[in-house]
Symmetry: C2
């Protein structure tokens, strides 16, 4: 860890050391409210994905605004949120290995825990562990509705695994995980609508196959920030897992939108400083790929369209500038990260700004929780 923090509450923005991960609280709160409003009066619940923010302060605010709980991607991540007081966590992943199973069961003593399966051996192992620890567990069958990652085939294969879960007390068959990741970043609204339309058909097919075995499908969960209004309106999904909406990032910002789409504001930025300005066309900033993850492309420079972040090395970012006057040594910029989730995972705290004043530092308590 850095031996120092980038800022203290009360500091002005210009005193925040760089690079730092800053959160615009006003934009963030509008994003939270916009999502809550979009589900008002509907039978669809929000279970936002916490892998995006890894920050208990944010999960608790989401729950205060109506979220039923959170999703996590890892058992260790879930443990951080349960310790912070979150009482309902779905680990949207298959959990393998005796150590992880034991820890999941210990969490299930303290919170309502859910987990995914896509193989009979996982059901057997979960059931044995749940019996050994005398806990119950919500088990969801993951169905591949187009992502080509985890998940069983829709229809008969999903029904077969659901029957196994339902016949394996103390496991409780809770429903289906049907997340279509690649659909989130299809650029046109037509492409995204089509992809989710196809996913919904696969979900319906799977639900009918399971109900045909006289097994109720209580929950159908999925969706992300790029498509969630389609799942909301599908008539089949009843839990939404969107996470990035709290922050937004350049990759989501590149999506085009149509009528009815619900769009959020950029609230998360990397503050950075020009540390080298040795040519008129090039400025080098102190935020490279250890400060802003480049897995989904480079960051952009906030409200400075004439500046192009062109290249990232470990701790250097090269910004192309139209002329020598465009930027000076020591100038600060805000970058919009290419992908919020892995960028957040690089920092130990969020520097939360109200206007140009630091209001709080929020620990990113589950950063690095990989197990």
């Amino acid at each position: 860890m850095s031996p120092w923090k980038a800022a203290e509450p009360g500091d002005r923005l210009e005193a925040v050391d760089t690079p730092a991960l800053v959160l615009d609280l006003d934009a963030f709160e509008r994003n939270l409210q916009r999502m809550a409003d979009s589900l008002k009066g509907r039978q669809v619940r929000l279970r936002p994905h916490a892998k995006c923010h890894k920050t208990p302060e944010i999960a608790l605010r989401q729950i205060a605004l109506g979220a039923v709980g959170i999703c996590c991607q890892k058992v260790s991540e879930a443990a951080v949120f349960v310790a912070a007081g979150v009482g309902d966590v779905l680990v949207t992943n298959q959990v393998m290995g005796a150590t992880k199973l034991r820890r999941l069961m210990e969490l299930a003593r303290r919170a309502r825990m859910g987990v995914l399966v896509d193989h009979p051996l996982q059901v057997q192992a979960l059931a044995a562990a749940a019996r050994a620890h005398s806990v119950t567990l919500d088990v969801y069958v993951e169905v591949d509705v187009g992502a080509q990652r985890c998940g069983v085939a829709p229809g008969a294969e999903a029904a077969q695994l659901a029957r196994q879960v339902a016949a394996s007390p103390p496991l409780r068959f809770a429903g289906l995980q049907c997340y279509h990741g690649p659909a989130q970043h299809l650029r046109t609204p037509q492409e995204r609508a089509l992809a989710i339309g196809n996913a919904v058909e696969q979900v319906r097919l799977s639900r009918e196959a399971i109900e045909g075995c006289a097994i109720a499908v209580e929950r159908i969960t999925g969706a992300g920030t790029g498509t969630f209004w389609h799942e909301r309106d599908s008539g089949v999904y009843n839990e939404l897992q969107a996470g990035s909406y709290v922050f937004m990032d350049r990759d989501y910002g590149d999506n085009q939108h149509g009528d009815g789409d619900i769009v959020f504001e950029h609230a998360l930025f990397v503050r950075t400083t020009v540390m080298s300005r040795s040519t008129a066309e090039r400025a080098v900033v102190d935020a490279g790929l250890k400060a802003s993850s480049v897995d989904s492309g480079l960051p952009t420079v906030w409200k400075r369209p004439e500046l192009r972040y062109a290249k990232a090395a470990d701790e250097h970012g090269v910004i192309m500038t139209p002329d020598a006057a465009a930027l000076s040594l020591g100038d600060a910029l805000l970058l919009v990260p290419g992908h919020c989730d892995p960028t957040v995972n690089l920092y130990d705290e969020l520097v939360c700004l109200r206007g140009d004043r630091v209001e709080a530092l929020w620990p990113i308590a589950a950063r690095g929780a990989l197990l």
Copy 2:
């Protein structure tokens, strides 16, 4: 942070939880020794870059084998190593801003500190801070020898900045930083030799211009794991900054080599587990882009050429398999990360293996030290 560690000393490899960053100590020690041997009896010193490992246990071993000190990329990173007992650190970067300058000066009270400049304003600010704190500081002029990042132009411009440093006590003009980053991963030995040959000409030109002002150029520092034997034999460089040699990664492993090249072993791996195996052609492992940085491309699967790591999401890695028998649910694999530096920066500790037994956990103490 994860609430749990991936392993404890004494554990067998098969008990190491996943994903975990594991170091093969035998291969690592051979790499350290190979580098030390390559400089024996020469007038060229090693000052390895610690941004790669961020681990005091490793820096102290490098120094015990003859390194004169280390390089860091950030002041906060340097602070971690000084606190661990490293007495000579070169921050291979421009340092901007009053807070960072104050901290750099405080470090200069406890260790020999060096820093780079490529602009007159940086020299002024460093000199004022050094005077205010009554410390001396080694200042290197960074010259752009082909990297097109930071650095002044070779020759007259370098000499002009060197004169300013030499005339700004208590700053001490220590020499030139001449690192050619892009040359490190040119794939053929001919391309790399040509790029460093050109860099050496620019270094020579710059040194002559400075010596023409009656200023001695004590140190010329640069080089990386892909080219350092060229700088070693150049007759101009006398300090080498290679860092990745301790670990190696897929990107360095993709370089082709000729006679006289010095090649290192893969010593750093991400241990991962197959958590989903729902089709014959696809296995999904628990190490995605938060476990192995993909900025320089995807990881490969160690000693399993028939398996192809094809896609990384936050916490999922998709591996294409030739048939259903190639991998089973729960199988463990070792991945060779695409790029070691940002991958190490994702973990809190190195799980150090001697054979198939965990010998130690080394804290990656400067992980996340961005300031």
